[in-house]
């Protein structure tokens, strides 16, 4: 993927702004790449122990590219489960991507259809989180930034680590021992903070977290995440503006293309 023409807005022509934002994105991505490496190693090992060949393990990581579903499938294959059950579980685990794609769709509407189709394949939790913060920093979509977040930070490390984990076998350390398992929730929480720039976002985030935990405990964590992602924005919308006639100064306009023109917007995507 390469840079396309700017969508709109005064920030669109500022090459140094893009470079600075991408540099920030790359630094943020360094920590998140550890998630891909750590759990890619674990998946490679799990696939080997489940009886996958190297080609099959690599096919999972390149074609499916969905960590939780891949790890669950490895366990089910090892347990002798049938393919229909594994495919059904995969659809269920990955349904949350609908929310990510829907949230990114307004930003990416100026991109060509083939490019959007390619972007969709590498859309993950981490790519979504990094990309949304990056787009908000810039005030517009940036396909090059998306490639950094989705491909350089996640796809390449995940696939390289899958091969390494498969070949290294028992030499792969348990991510819990070196506390790599804390990086994912810490990164998601930290990036959520970067998206909270007003009362509505704050209420949406808090409600999303509460609903995710309550529903996750009552039914299943995967259902909880989807429920939280759906309910949080409704709660945020219920928060009245201070003055309905005047948008809050730190609020992103409904149309992302005009975001850069909002006075008082933080230029780094983090709450002021």
């Amino acid at each position: 993927m390469t840079d396309g023409p700017p969508a709109a807005g005064p920030a669109a022509d500022d090459g140094s702004t893009v470079r600075l934002a991408r540099r920030r994105l790359a630094v943020d991505g360094l920590g998140i790449a550890a998630i891909g490496i750590g759990f890619g190693l674990v998946f490679g090992l799990a696939a080997r122990e489940a009886g996958y060949s190297l080609v099959e393990a690599v096919a999972m990581s390149t074609i499916v590219f969905a960590g939780a579903a891949q790890l669950a499938a490895a366990g089910l294959v090892a347990a002798g489960a049938g393919w229909p059950l594994i495919v059904l579980l995969t659809a269920f685990l990955n349904a949350r991507h609908l929310l990510y794609a829907a949230a990114l769709a307004p930003w990416l509407r100026e991109q060509s259809r083939p490019r959007r189709a390619a972007m969709a394949h590498v859309l993950t939790d981490e790519a979504f989180a990094l990309t949304l913060v990056h787009f908000r920093r810039l005030g517009r979509a940036d396909p090059g930034g998306y490639a950094i977040a989705a491909v350089a930070v996640m796809f390449i490390p995940w696939n390289a680590a899958t091969i390494a984990g498969f070949l290294a076998g028992e030499a792969v350390p348990d991510p819990r021992v070196i506390a790599l398992d804390i990086i994912f929730p810490a990164a998601m929480a930290g990036l959520a903070v970067g998206l909270v720039s007003g009362r509505r976002e704050l209420v949406a985030a808090v409600t999303g977290a509460l609903v995710a935990v309550v529903v996750g405990l009552a039914i299943d964590p995967s259902v909880g995440i989807i429920a939280g992602g759906l309910a949080g924005p409704f709660a945020g919308l219920a928060v009245p503006r201070r003055d309905p006639a005047v948008p809050e100064p730190d609020e992103l306009p409904a149309d992302p293309a005009t975001f850069a023109a909002v006075p008082g917007r933080s230029d780094d995507g983090m709450a002021p």
Partner: protein
């Protein structure tokens, strides 16, 4: 070398890709109302907070049932959030979280 599970990978991708692609490729998404766009703008903070909270607070017990867990991981994520608010540096925040959890586990407190 077996390639049988490549077929399973293709089937798994076939049910994963639509959830990633349909909203991006559906023509109607280019003409959404401001109210819907405002809702979608709030999906980001809501779903990221949901992912973090679920990962930290909901674990499975030995029987596979979801169970509430309040441990050092919650403190580590809270510290990471504080660092992001204070320094606006995600990498530093992740390092702080890892050090807290690793240290706690090393002394048997995590």
């Amino acid at each position: 070398m077996s390639i049988e599970l490549v077929g399973l990978a293709v089937l798994m991708a076939a049910v994963t890709y639509p959830s990633r692609a349909i909203p991006l490729l559906l023509p109607g998404f280019e003409r959404l109302s401001p109210r819907v766009l405002e809702y979608l703008r709030l999906v980001g903070p809501a779903v990221l907070a949901a992912l973090a909270a679920s990962a930290v607070l909901v674990v499975r017990d030995a029987a596979g049932r979801p169970t509430l867990a309040v441990g050092i991981e919650l403190l580590a994520v809270a510290a990471a959030v504080a660092v992001v608010r204070w320094r606006r540096n995600l990498l530093l925040a992740l390092l702080v979280a890892v050090v807290i959890v690793a240290a706690a586990r090393a002394i048997g407190a995590g």
